[in-house]
């Protein structure tokens, strides 16, 4: 009986640990693995206009993936902008501000002057209007 409750306690503890460890890591667990890999490799980056950009010369598969995501983003922005009584461009720009703000160190983002930058430990360079 004692061993049973000990085992139960161990199982519970293991479960809690797993849950605790699992929580902070997958901030973007639902990303496609190929997309996540391309982000980490700096092949794609977040643009100031709220869309994904291809950084430099990349294979056609990367270019297609970026185009596909951007089509989905545009449709999403159009819908959310309408619900907020805002223009598509304003919504997309605001989304860009937040997406650049959420980039992880090592990922690429577009600075207000249009150049690609690698996110460092500090705050990224963003448009002065960004919240």
């Amino acid at each position: 009986m004692a061993s049973y409750s000990q085992n139960l306690a161990k199982t519970l503890l293991a479960g809690l640990l797993a849950a605790g460890l699992a929580l902070p890591a997958p901030a973007f667990a639902q990303r496609d693995p190929a997309y996540e890999a391309a982000r980490q490799a700096g092949q794609v980056g977040e643009k100031t206009d709220g869309y994904l950009g291809v950084v430099g010369d990349q294979p056609a598969s990367i270019q297609k993936m970026v185009a596909d995501i951007n089509i989905k983003r545009r449709a999403n922005y159009a819908e959310r902008a309408q619900a907020q009584n805002a223009t598509l461009e304003a919504y997309a720009l605001t989304q860009g501000c937040v997406l650049i703000g959420r980039t992880q160190p090592g990922e690429k983002y577009q600075a207000p002057n249009g150049t690609w930058q690698t996110r460092g430990a500090g705050a990224p360079q963003r448009d002065a209007r960004c919240p």
């Binding site: 983003r73 999403n76 919504y91």
Partner: protein, 81 residues
């Protein structure tokens, strides 16, 4: 006797250069054309690309109003961000 052809005959592989009268006419047309162009007003394209800044009219006020919704949007649709 007619020769049966299965497909259309192909055109000449080599196009001979213009000769004689046709060549002379072409030359005159070319000279006239360049003479006319000389009298035209030419507009030089700017050396810098023309950039139309569409985002300039989006005010900070609008961006701040939308800020909370775009955060929520990432949580609602994580697969596209």
């Amino acid at each position: 006797m007619r020769i049966a052809k299965l497909t259309k005959p192909a055109g000449a592989a080599h196009k001979p250069p213009m000769t004689g009268k046709r060549r002379a006419i072409a030359g005159v047309v070319a000279v006239l054309g360049s003479a006319l162009a000389g009298g035209c007003i030419t507009v030089d394209a700017p050396d810098k690309p023309i950039v139309i800044e569409l985002n300039i009219n989006i005010t900070q006020e609008v961006i701040y109003r939308l800020a909370t919704d775009v955060q929520q949007n990432i949580d609602d649709n994580p697969e596209i961000f």
